[in-house]
């Protein structure tokens, strides 16, 4: 008698999976429609433009960071007179020294923590692929480390971005 009651109880415990299966099936169609098998992202850059600023004109010298890019090397320049800071030649494998470039830009960022613009001045024959790589290393600190420094107002600024506002010279 007891066994038969137990048996009945066990039978009742069977889960009804049909609604969840329906939901999963619909979900699969939705995901199949929105699936993209290449991960596509974007890098932003604006055309240089002339703007009128209402703010008080600062007496501080502008950073005016410039990356002069040729097929052989990258030269980092700064200031209104475009003083050359460092030059990074391609190594024996024919690749730019991106790590040194990133380290150098991190040092500049630490001294100018409020700055986020960099001007790119590439030669006509520089491959697009190289430009994208240079943008990657100019935009973020290597390993996405967070750097901190005190700005001109005396506030501590923490960031993992270097110069994420990229402007190409000689567009217009």
């Amino acid at each position: 008698m007891r066994d038969s009651i137990r048996g009945r109880k066990k039978k009742k415990e069977k889960l009804n999976l049909i609604p969840i299966m329906d939901a999963v099936f619909i979900f699969i169609f939705f995901l199949l429609m929105s699936a993209q098998f290449i991960d596509i992202y974007e890098i932003e850059s604006d055309a240089p433009s002339v703007v009128t600023i209402d703010k008080k004109i600062s007496n501080d010298k502008p950073l005016n960071l410039i990356l002069e890019i040729t097929r052989q090397n990258i030269t980092v320049k700064s200031g209104l007179n475009e003083n050359s800071i460092k030059k990074f030649n391609k190594n024996s494998e024919g690749k730019y020294d991106f790590d040194s470039l990133n380290t150098s830009l991190t040092e500049i960022k630490l001294k100018n923590i409020d700055e986020n613009s960099v001007i790119f001045r590439p030669n006509s024959d520089v491959p697009y692929e190289d430009l994208i790589q240079i943008m990657d290393f100019a935009m973020k600190v290597k390993g996405e480390k967070i750097i901190s420094a005190t700005n001109k107002k005396g506030e501590i600024v923490k960031t993992n971005f270097l110069f994420d506002k990229i402007i190409f010279e000689t567009i217009i």
Binding site: M21, S45, D125, P127, D136, I171
Partner: protein
Amino acid sequence: MLRKKKFKSFRKNKEALDLDITSLLDILVILLVFLLKSYNASDLKLDLVKNMLLPQSISRTLGNNAVIIQVNKDRSIWVNYKQIGELDNNEKVEILFSTLTEIKKQEKEKIDNVRVLASDITEQNKQINIVLDKSLPYKVLRQIMHTSALAGYPNFKFIVEGNY
């Protein structure tokens, strides 16, 4: 009597027919995990044209829907998946300029008809998605950027492939 017996046995057989969907469920769950991994929340849907290899980048900024210019290895230009011609040596690419101006005109007419959220649409109208083959030189990019800026698209978005 005999017929009743036969019918009963048939009904019994029918009840015994129970599908085992465990394996199907397993497949669905695996498919679900795979699809969830490849899900992209971006509203930019991109179909690459032939002879096109995207450069790789560490950028993780998702793309937005805007006019798409594609230039492949053979220097053919596509605007919104429609081939318009080939690149010449001039800094201003006339065929691209006329196509973009036409699109801009159509978009302006659309904005005039839809007055709600017009400011948002106007802001998005300045964007342009640039899809270039990775082997092309900067000169091509400069030509595209120059022409786009002249046609009223000064916000450039370089479309790249994510690398891990």
